[in-house]
C-alpha cells in the first residue's frame, strides 16, 4: 500500500483478488482513479471487468486486497447501500430500470436525498421537481416521463439509467457497457453525454466498442485474466504487442 497515493486518489485498488470455485476472476488487481478523472477499461471476455465493478460496489467481497474510496473508506467493509450512499453510482451491463415504475418515478427514486424508511415515508413530492425535469431534458426522456420504464426501447432504458446515475449525483460513476445494443448515432450521443458528465464527476467506463472508447478520448486500462495488462492512451495500448496478442489470440 502506498498511503501517499491512496489519500490523493478517489478510488484506490491494491492487490485485489477474487476467485470463484478455483477460478481467479481478479488476480492481484491494482489501479487508481484520480478525482475528476474519466477512465475507460477494456479487456476481452473474462478479463474481470464486471467482477471489478462488483467488488467496488460491494456485490462481491474480495478474498484479498484493499479497495479505498476517497482516500479513507475501505469499501470491502461496506455493503451495497452504504457504498451507494458514499457516492458511487453504477450502471449495469444489462439495463436495469424499475420497469413497473414510470420514468419520472425511476428518477425520483434515484435522486439524491435521505434513503431511510422514515424519510421516504413522510417525503413530500415536489422538492426535487426541478432537478428531475432537468435530468429528463439531459437524457431526452421529457416526452415520456409518465410512461412505464418497461415500455422504453433498449437505448432509452440505457439513457434512463444514466439519468438515474446523474440524479444520484455520485462522486464516482461506474458505467458498464453503456452503448451495448445502440445504433451508431446513439453511441455518439452517449459519448457526448458521458464526456459532459465527466466534467463534474469521476467516471469509469467499461466498454468493448473501440470506436466509442476512441470517441471518449481518455486514458485506457487494459485488463487481462484479472489484472492490469497495460495502461495509457488508446493509441499507446493498441501498440502494445501483449494487448494485440490478447485481443487477436495466440
Amino acid at each position: 500500500m502506498n498511503p501517499d497515493l491512496m489519500t490523493r486518489t478517489l478510488l484506490y485498488l491494491d492487490g485485489v483478488s477474487v476467485s470463484f470455485d478455483g477460478f481467479r476472476a481478479l488476480n492481484n488487481l491494482s489501479f487508481t482513479i484520480l478525482p475528476g478523472e474519466m477512465r475507460a477499461i477494456i479487456g476481452p471476455n473474462g478479463a474481470g471487468k464486471t467482477t471489478m465493478m462488483d467488488v467496488v460496489t460491494g456485490k462481491t467481497r474480495p478474498d484479498a486486497g484493499h479497495v479505498i474510496f476517497d482516500g479513507k473508506v475501505d469499501l470491502t467493509k461496506q455493503d451495497e447501500a452504504a457504498i451507494a450512499s458514499l457516492g458511487i453510482g453504477r450502471k449495469f451491463q444489462k439495463p436495469t430500470v424499475f420497469e413497473s415504475h414510470t420514468v419520472w418515478d425511476n428518477l425520483d427514486l434515484a435522486i439524491e436525498g435521505a434513503r431511510d424508511p422514515a424519510s421516504t415515508l413522510f417525503h413530500m413530492e415536489g422538492e426535487e421537481r426541478d432537478r428531475i425535469e432537468e435530468i429528463l431534458g439531459i437524457v431526452r426522456l421529457r416526452e415520456r416521463r409518465y410512461e412505464l420504464a418497461g415500455a422504453l426501447s433498449h437505448g432509452q432504458k440505457q439513457w434512463l439509467e444514466i439519468g438515474m446515475l446523474l440524479a444520484q449525483n455520485p462522486k464516482l460513476l461506474l458505467v458498464d457497457e453503456p452503448v451495448a445494443g445502440m445504433t451508431d448515432a446513439e453511441t455518439a450521443e452517449t459519448a457526448d453525454l458521458l464526456r459532459e458528465i465527466a466534467r463534474t464527476h469521476s467516471v469509469v467506463v467499461v466498454e468493448h466498442d473501440m470506436t466509442f472508447v476512441r470517441d471518449l478520448g481518455v486514458k485506457v486500462t487494459v485488463l487481462h485474466e484479472g489484472s492490469v495488462l497495460a495502461e495509457g492512451s488508446l493509441d499507446h495500448v493498441s501498440a502494445d504487442p501483449r494487448v494485440v496478442e490478447v485481443y487477436l489470440g495466440r
Partner: protein, 539 residues
C-alpha cells in the same frame, strides 16, 4: 464385550428359528406326559418324570414346570393332561406340549396332579437335566438365562453340574452369571458375594441393575458398597447404550426423512421447482401399495410376502406418471415464477387429497407388513425392528441409485446440462421440455417409492403426504439446494438430533426446537450446509 453380546443375540435368533422337534419325538413326549396323569402314586409319578427327563426333549419342560407349580391337571373324563390356571371356579386350559389354548372349563371336571417335596426335587432335577444339561447349546443357553432371571436357589446344584460339563464358551459364561446371580440373591459369605458381584457387573444390562438393587438391602456393608459401585458403573454403561439406541432411532427417522425428501431434492434442488404436491406423490405411492395388497389378498394370497416388491415398481410408475402429467399440465407454464408454482402445486395437493378421500374414504387404510419386515431383534441393549432396518437399507439404495443415475446415465447428464444452462443445452440438441418432464417424473416417482416404504410404518390416509412436506423442504434447504449429498446428511442429522431432543423435551417440543434451529440456521447459511459457490449462484 459387544462381540459376546452379538453372539448371544445370534444364538438366541438361532434358537427362535430352529425347526420344531421331529414328529416322532413329539409323539413319544406326548405319551409320556399323558403317563403323568396315569400315575397312581408318588413313586409311579416319579418314574414317569424320570422317563420324561430321559427323553432329553425340552418340549416337556412346560409340563414339568406346571407339575412342580401344581398347575397340571387331569381331566376326570378321559384322563387328558392339561395345564390349568384358576379363574374363579373355572380353569383356563392350555396344551402342555403345544402351548395352544384349550378353552376354559369348570374346575370341577379336573383333578390336580399332586406332588410332594421329594417329587419337587426330582422335578427340579428333571427340568434342569432337560434344559441345562440338554445336548443343544441354545437350549442350555436359554436355560441359563432363565435361571439368571428367576435366581432359583434350588437350581444351583444342577447348574454347577452343568457348568462342570459345559464346553461352549458363551453358554459357560451365561451359566457362571446365573450362578453368580443365585449366590448374590441367596445366602453366601461376603467373599463369594463380592466375586459374584464382579461377574454381574461385567454382564451389565437392566436386569443386573434390578438384581443389584435387591442385594444392597440384605447384605453386609462391604457387599452393599460394592453393589452400589457396580450399579453406578452399569448405569453409566446403560447410558451409552441409550445413546446408541437413540442413534439407531435417529437413523431410522433420518431414513424416513431421506426417502420423503430425496424426490424433492430432485424437483426442488435440481430443477428449482417448488412442488407442494410432493407429499401427495408419497401418498399416491402408499395407496398404490394398498391397492397391490388388496388384489393379492383377494386373488393371490400366496404372494403376500412379495407384495411390497410388486408395489415398488408400480408406485414408481404411477407417481412418476402423475408427476409427468403435472409438469406438462401446470408447471411448465410457470417456469421462472417460483412463488406461483408454489401456489398452483398447493392447489393441486388439495385436489389430489380430496380425490383420494373421495375414492378411498377419509379413514386409514390397512397395509400389512410382509413377514420378513415384521419382528424385532436385539443387539446388546438396543432393539431394532426389521421393518425399520429395511427402510434404512431401502433409503440408502434409492439414494445410491439416484446418484448413479445422475452421474452415469445419458438422462442424468442431460438433466445436469439443462439445470446448468438451459439455453446452451437446448442449442446442443437436448430436448429440454422432455428432460424437464422426465426429471420431474423421476422426482415424483422416487416420492412414490417413499410412499411404499412409509406405508409400512405410517397410517395410509389422504393426509399422509402433508405430514412430510414441511420436513422435506426443511431438509433440502438445510442440506443445500442442488446437492443430493446435502440432503442425505441433512436427513440423518435432523433425524438423529430430533431423537436426541425427544427424551429431554418431548416429541413435540423437540420438533419445535428442530424447526427453530433450521429457521435460524438458514439465516446464517442461506444456501444450506453444502452450498454451491460461484458466479452462477449470484445471479
Amino acid at each position: 464385550m459387544v462381540l459376546r453380546r452379538l453372539l448371544y443375540a445370534l444364538a438366541l435368533a438361532c434358537a427362535l428359528l430352529a425347526p420344531v422337534q421331529p414328529a416322532i419325538a413329539q409323539a413319544d413326549t406326548a405319551s409320556l406326559i399323558q403317563a403323568l396323569g396315569e400315575a397312581k402314586n408318588y413313586t409311579e409319578l416319579e418314574q414317569a418324570v424320570d422317563a420324561l427327563a430321559a427323553t432329553g426333549d425340552s418340549a416337556a419342560v412346560p409340563a414339568l414346570e406346571a407339575l412342580s407349580a401344581g398347575a397340571l391337571y387331569t381331566k376326570k373324563l378321559g384322563g387328558a393332561v392339561l395345564i390349568g390356571v384358576e379363574r374363579g371356579a373355572d380353569l383356563a386350559l392350555t396344551d402342555p406340549l403345544t402351548g395352544e389354548s384349550a378353552g376354559t372349563e369348570p374346575a370341577g371336571g379336573y383333578e390336580r396332579i399332586r406332588v410332594n417335596n421329594r417329587l419337587r426335587r426330582a422335578l427340579r432335577g428333571a427340568i434342569g437335566a432337560l434344559t441345562l444339561l440338554s445336548p443343544k447349546p441354545d437350549v442350555r443357553q436359554a436355560a441359563a438365562e432363565a435361571v439368571y432371571k428367576n435366581r432359583d436357589a434350588g437350581a444351583l446344584e444342577i447348574l454347577e453340574e452343568a457348568l462342570a460339563k459345559e464346553s461352549v464358551a458363551s453358554v459357560r459364561v451365561a451359566m457362571i452369571e446365573a450362578k453368580a446371580a443365585i449366590q448374590l440373591a441367596g445366602e453366601a459369605d461376603d467373599a463369594t458375594k463380592l466375586a459374584a458381584l464382579e461377574i454381574i457387573e461385567k454382564r451389565g444390562g437392566r436386569e443386573s441393575l434390578a438384581l443389584l438393587g435387591q442385594v444392597s438391602a440384605n447384605a453386609s456393608p462391604a457387599v452393599a458398597e460394592a453393589a452400589q459401585a457396580a450399579v453406578k458403573k452399569i448405569q453409566a454403561e446403560l447410558q451409552w447404550w441409550a445413546i446408541l439406541q437413540n442413534i439407531t432411532y435417529g437413523i431410522s427417522l433420518g431414513s424416513v426423512l431421506l426417502l420423503a425428501a430425496i424426490g424433492l431434492a430432485i424437483t426442488f434442488g435440481v430443477m428449482g421447482v417448488i412442488n407442494m404436491a410432493h407429499g401427495e406423490m408419497v401418498m399416491i405411492g402408499a395407496y398404490t401399495t394398498f391397492m397391490v395388497q388388496e388384489v393379492i389378498r383377494t386373488s393371490f394370497p400366496a404372494l403376500f410376502d412379495v407384495s411390497i416388491l410388486i408395489a415398488l415398481p408400480l408406485a414408481f410408475l404411477v407417481a412418476g406418471a402423475v408427476g409427468v402429467a403435472i409438469e406438462r399440465g401446470i408447471i411448465r407454464f410457470l417456469y421462472g415464477r417460483p412463488l406461483e408454482t408454489l401456489l398452483a402445486t398447493w392447489g393441486l395437493s388439495l385436489i389430489l387429497q380430496q380425490a383420494v378421500r373421495t375414492i378411498f374414504g377419509p379413514t386409514n387404510r390397512e397395509v400389512g407388513n410382509p413377514s420378513w419386515m415384521s419382528g424385532a431383534f436385539d443387539i446388546g441393549q438396543i432393539s431394532l425392528t426389521y421393518g425399520r432396518l429395511w427402510i434404512v437399507v431401502f433409503g440408502l439404495i434409492v439414494f445410491a441409485a439416484l446418484m448413479l443415475m445422475l452421474r452415469r446415465t445419458p438422462l442424468g447428464l442431460q438433466m445436469r446440462a439443462v439445470t446448468q444452462n438451459r439455453r446452451m443445452a437446448a442449442s446442443m440438441g437436448i430436448r429440454t421440455p422432455w428432460v424437464d418432464a422426465m426429471t420431474f417424473g423421476l422426482g415424483s416417482g422416487v416420492a412414490g417409492l417413499a410412499g411404499v416404504a412409509l406405508s409400512q410404518i405410517d397410517n395410509v390416509s389422504p393426509n399422509l403426504g402433508q405430514g412430510y412436506i414441511i420436513d422435506s423442504f426443511m431438509i433440502v434447504i438445510f442440506g443445500g439446494v442442488g446437492n443430493l449429498w446435502g440432503t442425505l446428511v441433512g436427513a440423518f442429522t435432523l433425524g438423529v438430533v430430533n431423537k436426541f431432543l425427544e427424551p429431554y423435551a418431548g416429541a413435540v417440543l423437540g420438533k419445535i426446537f428442530v424447526l427453530v434451529f433450521i429457521i435460524l440456521f438458514i439465516q446464517v447459511r442461506p444456501r444450506g450446509l453444502f452450498a454451491l459457490k460461484g458466479r452462477a449462484v449470484e445471479q
